[in-house]
Amino acid sequence: MKKQGYSQDNFFGWLMSSPALLLLTIFVIIPLVMGLGWSFTNKRLISPLPTEYIGLKNYDSILAIKLIPIDPILDENGKPQIDEKGNIQYFRVRDVIRANPKYQDFRLYTEFNAFGNHFGIIAKDPDFYRALINTTLYVLMIVPAIGIISLLLALLVNQRIWGVSIFRVLYFIPSITSISVTSVVWMFLYNPDQGLINQLLQKISFGAFGFSPWLQSADTALLAIILYTIWQASGLFMVIFLGGLQDIPEDTYEAAKIDGANPFQTLLYVVIPQLRNTIIYVVITSSILGFRLFTQVDVMTKGGPEGSTLTLMMHTVNEGFRNQKIGYASAISIVFFIFILILTFTQRKIFKSENVLE
């Protein structure tokens, strides 16, 4: 009797799983495996030439980076040439690359002065490093900003005062609208000449704030996107923090009060330790969302000005979809995936060690 039930379960188990398994196989597992395979080839979207296995060449092209010293230009006396402003004249990095066959395929990423010498950083794909730096910078700024702001929001609307649930709802509204649509609205607000944000800043600072170009300057574009994302996503993380706050038993607060803790001490020594899991979750989730940054950048700046908002995801789409280099884009995706894996495993590890302690 029991054995019959078991074999019946075998049948129904596979039957009920089959639609999901079929879909997962076609749309997740096969692409994942194909992407890994193509990352070792020179596959293109449309090409008359057959696809060839090229080993780790894509990965080399993505990651290859070199620091090279750049020599000053010497005059006939063997002294460095100096321009009118008193600066030493150096060879152009582009010429150094061209002159040296070792640096074939390399392009200039950036150059700088240090220890009295001039250096150039050259990479086979400077855009990858540009995207990596931008994305990392973005994650490093957005994660603490969103974490702190959404925690403060959650504390504010977790109070038992009249009308507080209305504010909860209001703060969450930006999170349910679609990113591309609200990005366009923010482009309107960021408008450098007549945009409302510039006008508002000028009025409330009595003219101390000048007009900022926001999205149209390499110095402020990433910042403008960060500000937009804070506006867009804080409500979502506020709700997650609220869930965590409501799991803290009421008597914990009472106990802190009896011990004479002021609200700030209660927050620091009682609330935050209790929110540990929620905080880890918010940090990891917001960093993964940060690494995936694409939509708002594609709408607002397309990666510009001067590559200052190019992100990893955007670089992948540019190479794979717009430039049709499927093999190369697959390799970038794999590198990208490794970042996500590291982040997620860190999360799981922290959670596990926490469980051991308990």
Partner: protein, 300 residues
């Protein structure tokens, strides 16, 4: 002496009450200020969409007028209905989001049921695989997924899925994270419930639909809402797979309009109309929304 003590304590009480009131006032002040920060873009958007083009920017200069509607007319709305296929975009988004969510609920909950409550060979391996797949973001497979979709046949004889509605639906029906949420919820339901049904000779399908689904209704709502938020914002994938206006969703139409000509009136009208459904839906069902987000997140 005694009187003075009473007096002091009264004064102390008064002071405490005053402090409490100030604090409360400060609370509301900060909350209202924040509400302004989160909502002013929507207000300015809606007000601007009702103004003639020239007035939109003129009014921005005085700041206050940017928040007050005047010369109200619906020309910008007429523009987006007459000059661009707004209704097509709108219909596409609704069809894509609804079909994906409804079929997703069905497919994902069914496998989660099999994994959580049936005993069969291979299920341990599949649970592990699905847990692993929850960390694969769409972005990492988007390029090969495009190639796969380009090679799939369809009922009408087409040999590619590109530029269609189903290419925006079928790949997203099955979602590892949704399966995981269902699984978490189903293993918490006491076994006695299905044992009683097994005694009555019910097969797993019957138990699933008559016992489990009613008991886990709140999980279904949570999964639907979380999916809704992500699907409503879908941008990257539609950008890659659509070629013609007939299949574009709302999220792409706005950039099409922006690139066509930069007149802000119609763009703001477009944004107002496309934000309206999700905002209304949220305000009506806000309790369910907020609870679902909180419950769908921190589970380790």
């Amino acid at each position: 002496m005694r009187k003075q003590v009473v007096d002091n304590s009264m004064r102390h009480n008064q002071k405490a009450r005053f402090q409490k009131k100030t604090l409360l006032f400060l609370d509301y002040f900060v909350m209202i200020l924040l509400a302004f920060f989160f909502l002013f873009p929507f207000w300015v958007m809606a007000v601007g969409s009702l103004k003639p083009e020239k007035l939109i920017f003129d009014d921005l200069k005085s700041v206050i007028w940017a928040f007050i509607p005047r010369d109200v007319n619906l020309e910008n709305y007429a523009y987006i209905f007459n000059r661009i296929p707004f209704l097509t975009y709108f219909k596409n988004t609704i069809v894509i989001v609804l079909t994906t969510i409804v079929s997703g609920l069905f497919v994902n909950s069914m496998i989660a049921y099999a994994l959580a409550r049936l005993r069969w060979k291979g299920k341990k391996f599949i649970i592990g695989a699905i847990l692993a797949l929850t960390i694969v973001p769409l972005e990492t497979i988007v390029v090969p997924l495009l190639m796969v979709s380009n090679k799939l046949p369809w009922f009408n004889g087409a040999t590619s899925w590109l530029d269609s509605l189903h290419v925006q639906i079928i790949p997203f029906i099955c979602d590892a994270f949704s399966i995981y949420l269902f699984y978490q919820s189903f293993i918490q339901i006491p076994k006695d419930y299905d044992e009683a049904a097994i005694m009555d000779g019910a097969n797993p399908f019957v138990i699933f639909s008559r016992v489990i689904i009613p008991l886990a209704r709140s999980t279904f709502v949570a999964v639907a809402i979380i999916q809704l938020i992500f699907l409503w914002s879908a941008y990257l994938w539609p950008l890659m797979v659509t070629r013609t206006e007939a299949f574009r969703p709302l999220t792409l139409g706005v950039t099409y309009l922006y690139n066509m000509d930069i007149r802000w009136g119609p763009i703001l009208a477009y944004a107002t109309l496309s934000n309206l459904p999700s905002v209304l839906l949220f305000i009506v069902f806000q309790k369910g929304f907020l609870r679902s987000i909180a419950s769908g997140s921190v589970k380790g």
